[in-house]
Symmetry: C2
Subunit: 420 residues, 2 copies
């Protein structure tokens, strides 16, 4: 068997640990040079494959690749670009095959979430549909934690840790200020449809450090009256209250609390600004002084506070993807399987891509407290293992030493540009 | 000489390291029981002295006090409450003396910023003005870094580190996304009048990790045209741009970019929301997709990312305050003196309170680049030492173990309530 090259690309919103998966893919491929030639990365995701803008990762030293493990963001650039169906845009698939053939690419590793799993699924069918032999393996990634089958998604554990820690820290702050100043602190977190990230705010409160946290989930229709009543009770009883609001929180009629009216490349509504809306509501109805924060990219880029469990799982998913390819698999995604709850143990499983693509995993109703404003013991049991352990990046001069790769371009072999 | 008790209180906005100063005060006092009896803390700052709500810190174990060093926020509660002048409100001063006398308080340690230094100054004059013997020492604290004389203020170094690291992380994120999605990321940071915190965003970019950062300082009148032109240039050249906007950024006529119309207890305009204003401006004029974040309390509470230098200085200021008291000093504040730039060395100095109270230290013009959107080498030289070193709190179950004290109340000795 002769070695063929591998294509690796990052897709969708990046995370604190997607590069740890890239590290897992590349380091594992480097151990199997008899089967895998070079790992060529797509510059800016799948777009790099379409435009033949490939990055030669073999130009990077082992040390540079190792540093990806502690570097947030997407080292090769990501994109929001979803392939249409074969019927709707055959031209794109023909182009992919043209590029793959020109660069002898036999393995396709795509690192992304639900939309990307769909792209990966379509590529995995190219052998059958268009006669080009390729093995396509999806590497799970999404801070939203909304992929099915896998117990969790790399990227989520670190955001969860960030949100839990930040919520605890800011709650201590507002508790200090509450006598004469701020009584309510509102922090807005990501999670367009699924409330996993918001749920992590509930972890800030533990038996030995109780904190009155009210969570607004996208899965629960916003009930203003009940919400204000709950905030008021907390301030009466504890002197202060912390609110964690998901960007996806919405009114019964479906309107987001913070509808901006703009849409991203996938056609999703672009959100932001639920926190000031909620804070103003508290001020107007209850009269409490507030502060609010919107974490936005800070939460998903916060490699400085990554969960060690998450980093290890992200790396393992990259490694497993290559191993699955070497086993001859196609159209699959490695998964994280919770083998034991206490003590927490996990192992690597595998899922068929057709069962993953375009399926969103929401918070089960029994993970949300009956009143809709908190998490249950069952949810806590699920979440707590995912934020375990710290994995600090190295620092120099007071700042984390994050890697920026050279990203050396592979010489183009095709003539003519491809218009996206 | 018989031992007299000490009063300690926290004032104004809390920080990631104000409790490290409390730790320095209490641990040092505990070594001098021949001179200092108990340290009685004001519950919610100076209000606790007025209402005779005192906390007996001697009820806390050495371990609990030691844990303050790694706990953000104000362990005894803070307040925004400024004493009026002796002429304007003699009743408050008479009450303070009544409480001090009842509890044999001979030392007054007040941990705060410029407004608090003014309160401390007034208390320090009680010996002369009202015949009650007391030594009042101010312990510097403010994330705004705007106290005069001292080289820096405890609390600032940790916020600076948080802003520098978060700006770097989010910039890596937007750089990854810029091809098809977000091209401009805007993060809003604190700093009502002084741009020290915003300046720290400039540290995200270094020679080996260059990042196109545009900073909007409160010291520089906002020039929309020049700002947009600078952002556009960065996106053209680098593909993306990060904007760090101070909450205090304002138009030439003095209106804040994000004027909310409300005012805090000191009469300062309450701000928030400059980031969405700036982001929308970029979208409207340049058409770039944006994301924005407002760090708010997250930045000043982020003990998980504290600067070790800052923690050490905060502790040293608390310790020095007690030592100054033991030397018989009154109406002073320990300061941080930069003894050497390279290698950075600092020592403890002392300032007269009358030279500190109500004086704000702004960014010198030569710390801001000529175009007004960046920091100079001189500024970088000043800032870099302040973010050096990490000082991670201990973790359990994935979360930092922050201390919540028992805060045992001292039995009241006075009859009747005091109305604030």
């Amino acid at each position: 068997m002769t070695a063929r090259n591998a294509f690796y690309a990052q897709s969708g919103g990046v995370t604190a640990v997607i590069n740890a998966s890239a590290c897992g893919v590349i380091e594992t491929a480097r151990k199997h040079t008899d089967r895998i030639g070079k790992v060529l990365a797509g510059r800016n995701g799948i777009i790099g494959a379409l435009t033949e803008e490939l990055i030669d990762t073999s130009a990077e030293s082992d040390a540079a690749i190792a540093a990806l493990r502690h570097t947030p963001s997407g080292a090769f650039g990501s994109c929001r670009y979803k392939l249409k169906s074969l019927e709707a845009n055959r031209r794109e698939y023909e182009r992919l095959i043209e590029v793959f053939r020109a660069h002898d690419i036999g393995y396709f590793f795509y690192n992304g979430g639900g939309d990307s799993a769909d792209t990966c699924l379509k590529v995995s069918q190219l052998s059958d549909s268009m006669g080009y032999p390729i093995q396509a393996i999806h590497v799970p990634k999404t801070v939203d934690n909304d992929l099915p089958i896998t117990d969790t998604c790399p990227g989520f554990g670190s955001v969860a840790k960030y949100v839990a820690v930040s919520t605890r820290e800011a709650s201590f702050d507002v508790r200090s200020m509450a006598k004469t100043s701020t009584k309510v602190f509102v922090v807005e977190v990501m999670g367009r449809h699924a409330g996993w990230i918001a749920a992590a705010g509930g972890l800030a409160s533990t038996d030995d450090t109780p904190i009155p946290v009210v969570i607004l989930f996208p899965e629960i229709e916003f009930n203003q009256e009940q919400f204000l009543s709950r905030v008021g009770e907390n301030v009466e009883r504890h002197g202060y209250c912390t609110v964690v609001v998901s960007e996806g929180c919405h009114w019964p009629d479906g309107r987001f609390l913070a509808e901006a009216g703009t849409r991203d490349a996938f056609g999703h509504a672009q959100l932001g600004g639920a926190a000031p809306v909620v804070a103003q509501m508290v001020k107007d109805s209850l009269g409490y002084k507030y502060h609010w924060a919107v974490a936005d990219y800070l939460q998903r880029a916060a490699r400085h506070l990554a969960s060690r469990t998450d980093v290890e799982q992200a790396y393992a998913m990259g490694k497993a993807a290559v191993e699955l390819a070497l086993e001859g698999r196609n159209s699959v995604m490695p998964t994280i399987v919770r083998a034991s709850q206490e003590p927490y143990r996990w192992e690597v499983g595998v899922a068929e891509l057709k069962n993953v693509a375009n399926v969103e995993k929401f918070m089960p109703r029994d993970f949300i407290s009956e009143d809709g404003f908190g998490i249950t013991g069952k949810c806590r049991q699920y979440l707590v293992p995912l934020i375990q352990g710290e994995d600090y990046p190295p620092y120099a001069g007071g700042l984390p030493m994050y890697a920026t790769l050279q990203n050396v371009a592979v010489a183009k072999k095709l003539s003519g540009d491809f218009k996206l």
